[in-house]
């Protein structure tokens, strides 16, 4: 691993190797380092197209790390990672993709992550996306996350894309059984001419299923973002979708909410707010001694924290 790799890894996650119970580091389409333990196994799929992560039943608080690094300009890496989370187990999965592109060819990573949560399994999934490099070649990331939740399971997904990704289409699909909870927190900042589109498709099939989807985004300069959410309630369930966006410069954000209840017992809420930073917020921070620029930075940093 060279300095560029180390820096990318640091951007998407600190001290991953030290703190993880199991990990798999993928670089330019190949697995370069791996650790497993008796509770968490990682197995390569055929042709290096991804991995299967198996978490045994009743595993207590395991930490799994699966970063992806792309440093070869012009590479399009498609990876399928499947997570099989056993009954009653509790794991933290740290994923992320760092792209370094110093040349003119586009580099692309399409990560398809599928989560199969057995009964009462609990997962915290943290995903960070980051791009860097001086080349004119675009850095594209198109993550797909599919989540299948059995009775009593619980998942929190924190996803962050703060810097340097030119083009992204993020799709998240989930199907929730009885007594399940899915919490999704998404944070995106775009600048220059970047494009980011997020699509959430959540189906609440089981009684007492619930989901909270929170998207906070900041679109600056000439960037464009689109937020699409589609939540369907097919049972006595609860859903709360919240899209909050701050605009700066010529940034644009489009929010398209769709909630669909097929039974009177479904309770579905969607909130969306798009606008510039409130003048009162700037004024308050300036009255504490920050310049207008510093105040803006603090507000945005806090908003995306």
């Amino acid at each position: 691993m060279n300095e560029i790799d180390k820096n990318l890894l640091k951007e998407i996650s600190e001290d991953s190797k030290k703190t993880s119970d199991a990990y798999n580091i993928r670089k330019n389409g190949k697995s370069i380092d791996r650790k497993t333990n008796p509770f968490i196994d990682i197995v390569s799929k055929e042709d290096n197209k991804g991995i299967d992560v198996y978490v045994k039943e009743n595993t207590l608080l395991g930490i799994v790390h699966i970063p992806v690094l792309l440093t070869e300009s012009g590479l399009k890496d498609v990876v399928y990672n499947d997570f099989h989370i056993g009954k009653n187990s509790n794991v933290i999965i740290l994923a992320g993709c760092g792209v370094h592109n110093d040349e003119h060819k586009d580099t692309e990573h399409d990560g398809i992550h599928r989560f199969y949560l057995e009964e009462n399994a609990k997962v915290k999934y943290v995903e960070k996306h980051y791009g860097e490099g001086r080349g004119s070649g675009k850095k594209k990331l198109n993550p797909v996350t599919e989540i299948f939740m059995k009775k009593g399971s619980n998942m929190t997904m924190d996803t962050t894309q703060i810097k340097g990704v030119d083009d992204t289409l993020r799709e998240t699909k989930a199907v929730l059984d009885e007594d399940t909870t899915l919490v999704i927190n998404e944070k995106i900042l775009t600048n220059k001419n970047q494009n980011a589109k997020t699509v959430f498709d959540v189906r609440l099939d089981g009684k007492n299923a619930s989901t909270h989807v929170t998207s906070r985004s900041v679109a600056t300069e000439n960037s464009y973002q689109e937020f699409v959410s589609n939540v369907t309630g097919n049972a006595k369930c609860y859903a709360h979708v919240e899209c909050d966006a701050i605009l700066k410069d010529m940034g644009c954000v489009k929010a398209i909410p769709e909630i669909y209840a097929t039974t009177p017992d479904a309770n579905l809420i969607h909130e969306a707010a798009i606008g510039k930073i409130q003048g009162e917020q700037l004024m308050k921070l300036m009255s504490l001694g920050l310049s207008e620029k510093e105040a803006e930075d603090v507000i945005i940093k806090g908003f995306l924290k």
Partner: protein, 241 residues
């Protein structure tokens, strides 16, 4: 010393502030009172630089600060607690206090600042300054952000606005402490008798002009012994309505 010289402010052909002149001294607790629309909050905002006057000057310890921006005035030592505290998604009380004191402080230090405004600090320091906090809690945090800076001039714009009576009763204790401890100038905009009682001097503003300035005893006679003045809780001087 804060000198307000001949400040005028007009909007829609209405004189909001009409040739205001004031001199405020250190270690004194001033309360500006008066009917709604008398120009109290506008004057406070002009001192902080949030609103620009049409004419006049503001001098802090002899230095003309009229052309300075809000942040420059803050750095010179002016603090302002907003009537309606602003909410921030993602910023915690701890974050806001660190900005207030302009240095890294420990959570313990942040807690001791919060304790001064009567908040059980451990419960609040990591809370986000968002809609989950009540009006009274936000008010206290707002006041804490100003007190934490030890300003030369601390301005509080209607601390009683938007909070329930119970929260307000507790808040008066905070101002009593401030009156005893603050070495700078304290300037509170208020209608509340309990706040007026703390004042060293009361400034009565009416229709954009200073009607009278005086010590508590003489001003109380003027404010509360005239027939139309209301003395109820949460009430205000109603003579000009």
């Amino acid at each position: 010393m804060l000198e307000i010289k001949d400040i005028c402010f007009e909007r829609d052909h209405k004189k909001i502030l009409d040739h205001i002149n004031l001199v405020l001294d250190e270690e004194k607790f001033y309360v500006i009172t008066g009917p709604n629309g008398s120009g109290k909050s506008t004057l406070a905002k002009i001192i902080m630089g949030i609103t620009k006057p049409d004419s006049g000057q503001i001098l802090l310890n002899g230095e003309d600060i009229t052309s300075l921006s809000v942040d420059e005035r803050a750095k010179k030592g002016i603090g302002f607690a907003f009537q309606q505290p602003v909410r921030f998604k993602g910023l915690t009380v701890y974050d806001l206090l660190k900005i207030s004191v302009n240095k890294e402080i420990s959570k313990k230090e942040a807690c001791s600042i919060l304790a001064k405004v009567g908040l059980c600090a451990r419960e609040y320091v990591d809370r986000e300054v968002n809609a989950s906090l009540s009006g009274g809690e936000l008010k206290r945090i707002e006041i804490a952000t100003v007190m934490a800076r030890n300003p030369k001039v601390a301005i509080f714009d209607e601390p009683e606005a938007g909070i329930d009576l119970w929260s307000f009763q507790n808040l008066t204790e905070v101002f009593k402490d401030l009156e005893e401890l603050n070495k700078g100038i304290t300037l509170v905009i208020s209608h509340q008798e309990r706040i007026l009682e703390i004042a060293d001097e009361i400034i009565l503003l009416e229709k954009g002009k200073i009607k009278q300035i005086g010590e508590k005893e003489e001003m109380f006679k003027l404010l509360f012994e005239e027939p139309k003045c209301c003395r109820k809780e949460g009430g205000c001087c109603e003579r000009d309505r």
